[in-house]
């Protein structure tokens, strides 16, 4: 598929970096997802925040979405960006959900309800939370670097043969 509307969506001119980002994010979510499943099944020593078996499978599904986008992006097809976008949306949903869980648990702890007296915020710091923070930080850094590159080499875009 040609890159007819790439500019319309503000996507980068070259799909190499997004495809690499997609691959790295996919690998990260897969590895953490597998560790989470192993911890939940008792194959690995317990790690704080890694107790939910289904949560591990969800991370692998998100990884699958990112992985599916790698091939079209490496071929410079705009379709690949759809996979990155949906991957981000799913990761953001799980992140927002975990933030809400922490807020409501903190409320229960603050009100001194019996079931919340032993609550510890560390138990709610799940991989879906910190992976998304890392993902956004990495994406933000890449975006800033991209902008800086464009400012430092303003003619590079014009020199590209059409």
């Amino acid at each position: 598929m040609s890159r007819i509307h790439a500019d319309e969506f503000g996507v980068p001119q070259d799909g190499t970096w997004p495809s690499r980002l997609s691959l790295v994010v996919g690998v990260a979510y897969t590895v953490v997802g597998i560790i989470q499943i192993c911890v939940a099944l008792g194959f690995i020593a317990p790690i704080v925040g890694f107790t939910d078996l289904v949560g591990g499978f969800l991370l692998i599904i998100i990884a699958a979405v990112f992985f599916t986008g790698v091939k079209p992006l490496s071929k410079n097809e705009q379709e690949g960006y759809a996979f990155i976008a949906v991957g981000y949306i799913l990761a953001a949903i799980l992140f927002a959900l975990q933030v809400l869980v922490i807020i409501t648990n903190a409320l229960g702890w603050f009100l001194r309800f019996n079931n919340w007296l032993q609550w510890n915020v560390l138990n709610d710091i799940t991989p879906s939370l910190w992976l998304f923070v890392i993902l956004m930080t990495a994406t933000g850094s890449l975006w800033i670097l991209g902008n800086l590159r464009e400012k430092l080499i303003p003619n590079s875009k014009e020199d590209t043969p059409k």
Partner: protein
């Protein structure tokens, strides 16, 4: 004047068995097709955000896993977020109970504390998860994803020879089984429509949610949200399996493709989503304030009175007699007479299951329902109870809707009987299979 054509249309529809709405839609698409053939010239395709998202959300392999992630997120949100608000309501009614229990007239104190507060008060603690569930469904509807979910499932349903359009009523069943049964009108073909009517009650409605939440929180506290999610998925799976069995045995009719217009994705508005949540949640509040209140008083009378009059031990009450009458049937599942009585009252509405349990144990002097349940059934029986509640007749209103939609007492009776048998067989299967793993 304008009434006459509609009447003719209805009469014709009854004679031919063709839904006029579907016939109109088919005609409309034919006209659109003819016009497009004349004027459309293929060219550069404009790719908008909806196309972009659909490429992934309706993906051949990723569509279903993404749907499962969304469903899990919805039920995790419903359960985890509401816990603290449920505790607030529980504390409020416990505080009210300290006043009502001080009333000098014993029967009135018991009626208000063990009857009304333990019954309606307890069921009202489930207002937050029900409202949150409706909020989540509203958001999914408003974004335009829910119709895509029907599209994603259509592929799998078609493979099994089922009608794709059937999944839309089934999705509505997440909110209310009555709505799901009535929405089966949109399904093309008599056999397909009847299949949809019969399997719609298997979808988990909001009325069953309090049962899942209570049992999951008591017996499976660390995976409670996931357990609720599993029940909803099990409802879909059972609906598909039963449809398949019906199509292979009772109804043999060719399935047709699902044709639906997918709207553009939209960002849901806060006002719109909360408005939908409120409108639907209000129905639950009205139910709790009307017939669940009456039900709690009746249940208190049955639990407090026996042949010896008022104040007999709960084991000698009318409620106990009723439960013990059917207990032998359900004892292989590990259910006590209290649970059996609750399930009998669950025929009226699923909310009544929890309400009945709460009143029986309160009259019996048990401190909390959670403590009473853990001391009377095993986690395996608790899971079987969740499945039984999922699969047996949802409520009287649904039975009425089935009667109305099928126009037949025969099919209505069949619906009740097959659901009871299914609930029993699947629950007993869980007890037997689970027994191999739990020594």
């Amino acid at each position: 004047m304008s009434e006459q054509p509609e009447l003719d249309l209805d009469e014709e529809a009854e004679e031919t068995g063709i839904d006029p709405q579907l016939a109109l839609a088919d005609e409309r698409y034919e006209v659109i097709g003819r016009i497009l053939c004349e004027v459309y010239e293929p060219g550069g395709h404009k790719w908008d955000l909806s196309d972009m998202l659909d490429r992934v959300l309706l993906h051949k392999y990723l569509g279903l896993p993404i749907f499962l992630v969304t469903m899990w997120a919805m039920f995790h949100f419903t359960f985890e977020i509401s816990l603290v608000f449920m505790e607030m309501i529980t504390q409020f009614f416990a505080w009210l109970g300290t006043f009502t229990s001080q009333i000098p007239i014993p029967w009135l104190a018991s009626l208000l504390t063990n009857g009304v507060l333990s019954g309606v008060g307890f069921i009202l603690t489930f207002v937050p998860p029900i409202f949150f569930l409706y909020l989540a469904i509203s958001v999914l509807e408003d974004t335009g994803y829910l119709s895509r979910a029907a599209f994603v499932m259509d592929r799998y349903m078609m493979r099994m020879g089922l009608h794709g359009r059937s999944f839309i009523p089934l999705l509505l069943g997440f909110g209310c089984s009555v709505a799901a049964v009535m929405a089966a009108r949109t399904v093309d073909g008599e056999s397909n429509r009847l299949t949809t009517v019969l399997v719609s009650p298997l979808m988990s409605c909001a009325g069953r949610l309090p049962v899942y939440i209570l049992i999951a929180a008591v017996f499976f506290p660390h995976i409670a949200g996931t357990m609720v999610f599993v029940m909803y998925i099990l409802g879909i799976v059972m609906a598909i399996i039963v449809s398949l069995i019906f199509k292979k045995t009772l109804f043999r009719e060719e399935s047709s493709s699902l044709l639906m217009e997918l709207s553009q994705y939209q960002v849901p508005t806060v006002h719109g989503s909360f408005r939908h949540m409120w409108d639907r949640g209000l129905m639950f509040l009205k139910t709790a304030g009307s017939y669940l209140l009456v039900g709690s008083i009746i249940m208190w009378v049955l639990s407090s009175f026996g042949f010896g009059g008022y104040g007999v031990p709960v084991d000698a009450s009318f409620a106990s007699m009723l439960g013990k009458l059917f207990e032998p049937l359900l004892s292989p599942l590990g259910f006590t007479w209290q649970i059996v009585t609750a399930l009998i009252f669950g025929f009226i509405a699923k909310e009544a299951v929890i309400q009945t349990l709460s009143i029986i144990y309160a009259v019996g002097g048990t401190v909390t329902l959670a403590a009473a349940l853990t001391s009377s059934i095993t986690p395996l029986s608790a899971f079987a109870l969740m499945v039984f509640v999922l699969l047996y007749v949802p409520c009287l209103a649904t039975v009425g809707a089935i009667r109305k939609e099928t126009g037949s007492w025969k099919w209505t009776a069949f619906s009740i009987i097959y659901q009871l048998i299914l609930a029993y067989v699947v629950s007993i299967g869980i007890i037997i299979i689970g027994g191999f793993f739990i020594v």
